[in-house]
């Protein structure tokens, strides 16, 4: 599925919290354009491609967006309005699994803000507990409530068929 940056929803508490996972694979073409700066410590070993931070933010936006969208039964067009904070602490490379956790900070008729943590399981090292790799806090706007005077298409173009499939695949009811 194009432009889906999460693979599965693993935990879900409506209006409160969502946990999703994303497996980072060398088969993802965009990775081949992103490398860390030269690291002399690596010697002759070729540099490993990196998951771009911007796509980690997108993964968090999709996770938190589902949580916020679900709160209004996907009737609102939930758009990412602002990245309140994004701090990335470590590189993410193919072979890792990312775990996104988003919690609702504020939710009202106009929009929502969420607090998020990204952790990585590094299967290459065999370490079983994940390491925190980022903190990403976002703000979402329900655009029909915030753009007075502007018209948007009536159908909900935010929550596409891909989201519906992902949610159903994860055992979450998605009738929109």
């Amino acid at each position: 599925m194009r432009w889906m940056w999460i693979d599965r929803v693993t935990e879900f508490e409506p209006r409160t919290r969502i946990v999703t996972i994303k497996c980072v694979s060398l088969a993802e073409e965009h990775l081949h354009d992103h490398f860390a700066a030269d690291d002399p410590a690596l010697g002759d070993r070729p540099a490993t491609p990196l998951m771009p931070g911007s796509l980690m933010i997108e993964g968090m936006a999709q996770s938190a967006g589902v949580l916020v969208g679900h709160a209004e039964q996907f009737r609102q067009k939930v758009v990412l309005a602002k990245i309140n904070r994004a701090e990335i602490f470590a590189d993410v490379t193919p072979g890792m699994t990312l775990r996104y956790t988003a919690v609702v900070d504020r939710l009202d008729a106009m929009g929502a803000s969420t607090l998020g943590t990204v952790e990585a399981f590094n299967h290459a090292t065999g370490e079983t507990s994940p390491a925190k790799v980022a903190e990403i806090d976002l703000m979402f706007s329900f655009i029909d409530q915030n753009m007075s005077g502007m018209d948007f298409p009536a159908h909900n173009f935010v929550f596409s068929e891909s989201f519906k499939t992902l949610l159903r695949m994860s055992g979450i009811e998605a009738d929109f």
Binding site: A81, K82, R106, A109, M139, S141, S148
Partner: protein, 129 residues
């Protein structure tokens, strides 16, 4: 909480939300013109005020919305005196005196000052008791 204390906290919130230095923020600063706020920042400011001061802000309570769509309030690109009266009553935290002299809808954002937010917070805290 004194007005000075409210002002200092509002200033902190605005500096953080709009990514500006606290020194740039004055009581008369306008959110859009002086501090560079964009439409979505207004929602963020509401959220941060709720969080910082511990009260709930209703939809359209802090910032007016939908004024431009009301033919009663707007004529030839200007807000009518009745419109300004209605807005003053609904949103007493704004100072409309300067706007009244040239009530062009395109200049409505000039009423969104730091002072107006401090007024709003002060009234909310007073109402809470």
């Amino acid at each position: 909480m004194t007005r000075d204390e409210i002002y200092s906290k509002v200033r902190e919130i605005l500096a953080d939300t709009l990514s500006v230095d606290e020194e740039e923020i004055q009581p008369t600063s306008t959110l859009k013109g002086d501090l560079g706020a964009e439409s979505i920042d207004y929602l963020d400011i509401s959220f941060q005020l709720e969080k910082g001061f511990g009260f709930k802000i209703g939809q359209h309570e802090l910032f007016p919305q939908g004024v431009a769509q009301d033919p009663k309030y707007v004529k030839d690109g200007k807000i009518t005196p009745e419109g300004i009266d209605a807005l003053t009553e609904r949103l007493p935290h704004f100072d409309f005196s300067k706007f009244r002299q040239d009530p062009q809808l395109s200049k409505i954002h000039e009423i969104f000052t730091v002072n107006s937010i401090v007024n709003f917070v002060q009234a909310k805290i007073a109402a809470k008791g």
